[in-house]
């Protein structure tokens, strides 16, 4: 326990002193996960909205697929992206393996189904309220999707948050396609795994602390926004 206490004290000092390595890892983590969340929202929100407002044959099968994909194992996604980006793979010529871009691609694949499935549910509920008005106005699908996403924006923040949470916390996919290369593709989760295996608990704990603070901070910010929206009846 004494070792643990000492490690914890060192971790705090690393965080408070703004250790350069730690800052670099945290910054890359945020860059990768925020970009992946942004791209996943750009893809997932319109798709979720489209499924929410459309009735077609096989819709139930699509919904089951959406929900099943939410539980994609990160290592499997990492492996698939690896196979595509490796030199022998169909996208090997792009030279993206072991770069932050590869990590963004893997995380995007991982969280897009989450954004799609959760946003579909939120937007379907809202659409039930708006549907007759939309039909009366003879709106195109594009207009309906845009209106639904805009009006559900505060609820969709939570969807984005769920995606970001999954992205920033996963380790399997980014480890495989990023390679955990120091100063290049090392992010918080891969660094924690590495430092723990090396016995360097201070850095691992420090990164763990930062990860927790980020998770709590983002949650608090989104929750506060949602509360404001609810007060103004926008959510």
């Amino acid at each position: 326990m004494q070792d643990f206490g000492e490690a914890f004290r060192l971790a705090l000092s690393l965080v408070l002193s703004g250790d350069a390595d730690l800052v670099e890892i945290v910054a890359l983590s945020l860059r990768v996960s925020l970009t992946a969340t942004g791209v996943a929202c750009l893809i997932g929100l319109p798709l979720g909205a489209l499924v929410a407002i459309t009735r077609f044959r096989g819709r139930n099968a699509v919904l089951i697929l959406f929900n099943a994909l939410m539980g994609l194992p990160p290592v499997v996604v990492g492996l698939l992206v690896y196979l595509h980006l490796s030199r022998a793979g169909p996208l090997g010529f792009l030279g993206l393996l072991y770069t932050p871009t590869a990590m963004i691609i893997a995380q995007t694949i991982l969280i897009t189904p989450i954004v799609m499935a959760l946003s579909r549910q939120v937007l379907e509920d809202l659409h039930a309220e708006y549907a007759e008005q939309f039909r009366s106005l003879v709106l195109s699908r594009r207009q309906q999707v845009a209106a639904l996403i805009w009006d559900a924006r505060f609820s969709l923040l939570t969807v984005g948050l769920a995606g970001f949470g999954r992205a920033v916390a996963e380790v399997g996919a980014v480890m495989i396609v990023g390679g955990n290369i120091d100063h290049l593709t090392r992010v918080m989760t891969t660094a924690i795994a590495l430092e723990t295996s090396k016995g360097d608990l201070a850095l691992a704990l420090g990164l763990g602390l930062v990860l927790m603070v980020i998770a709590l901070g983002v949650n608090a910010m989104v929750q506060s926004l949602r509360m404001t929206a609810v007060r103004h009846a926008y959510a």
Binding site: E132, S136, Q143, A147, Y234
Partner: protein
């Protein structure tokens, strides 16, 4: 311009007026219109030619099919049989774009009052803040323009729905019990707006249970019961001398089953 057609007069297979480019798109004709859901007929074989102007009230007890008729006429529900013609033409998106519908429970977007009106204007390709401001002034909501629309009272939300409906300058406005559950002041304000729209040439179809309201607003009245059309004629005649027993019972406040 009122008519006194009973169902037997207007039922049948009178062919629609020939389609012409100048046909009045406010004139509705129902031909053998029916709606059956899960084997239950909810609207039965309606044949009717409505006046292209004025305020037509659709009345009848609960379950008569009044709201369904309105939705069928606006194309929100596809009929099981028959058809709806506007100006002699089958209902199309182009025709629906010159119609507006106001629902019993106003659908209010999660935006400001002004943004709710802007939404409809923008959907029609119009970006005109002065038009929006004039509409809000017309329905008495100028002071609420920046407020979240969902925080308005029920009467204010319905007036906002009216402003949105008027934003497209519709030729036909279909209103499904827009004053149900509203206080008398809100009802009167909404009735003023409706009468003003009618005076400017908009055909109004208005579902109501309120006999007083029918007396104040209606030019002609459609009376329905159990999905069937029982009477259609001028409001004065219908309210003073209804022809069917169901209509007499309804007007005398008896329970109609």
């Amino acid at each position: 311009m009122h008519m006194r057609d009973t169902v037997s007069d207007i039922a049948g297979t009178r062919p629609p007026e020939p389609v012409s480019a100048t046909a009045d798109r406010r004139a509705a004709t129902l031909r053998n219109l029916g709606l059956t859901i899960d084997g239950t007929p909810l609207v039965r074989d309606l044949n009717l030619a409505l006046e292209p102007t004025g305020i037509t009230m659709i009345m009848g007890p609960n379950g008569a099919g009044k709201s369904l008729l309105l939705k069928l006429m606006h194309g929100l529900i596809v009929p099981s049989s028959g058809e709806v013609l506007w100006g002699g033409q089958p209902l199309s998106n182009e025709l629906r774009r010159v119609q507006s519908m106001v629902f019993q429970k106003p659908v209010v977007l999660r935006r400001s009052v002004a943004a709710n009106v802007d939404f409809v204007l923008k959907a029609r390709g119009i970006r005109d803040a002065s038009r929006r401001d004039a509409l809000l002034a017309h329905v008495g909501l100028s002071d609420h323009a920046r407020q979240p629309a969902r925080l308005l009272s029920g009467g204010e939300q319905q007036r906002l729905a009216l402003a949105r409906a008027l934003a497209t300058e519709p030729k036909v406005m279909l209103m499904d019990e827009p004053t149900a559950s509203l206080d008398p002041a809100s009802v009167l304000k909404i009735e003023e707006i409706v009468q003003d729209a009618q005076a400017k040439g908009t055909k109004i179809l208005f579902v109501t249970h309120d006999l007083g309201q029918a007396g104040r607003l209606a030019d002609d009245i459609v009376f329905m019961h159990k999905g069937r059309l029982h009477e259609y004629g001028s409001a004065d005649l219908f309210l003073s001398r209804p022809e069917t027993e169901e209509a007499r019972n309804f007007l005398q406040g008896r329970i109609v089953v």
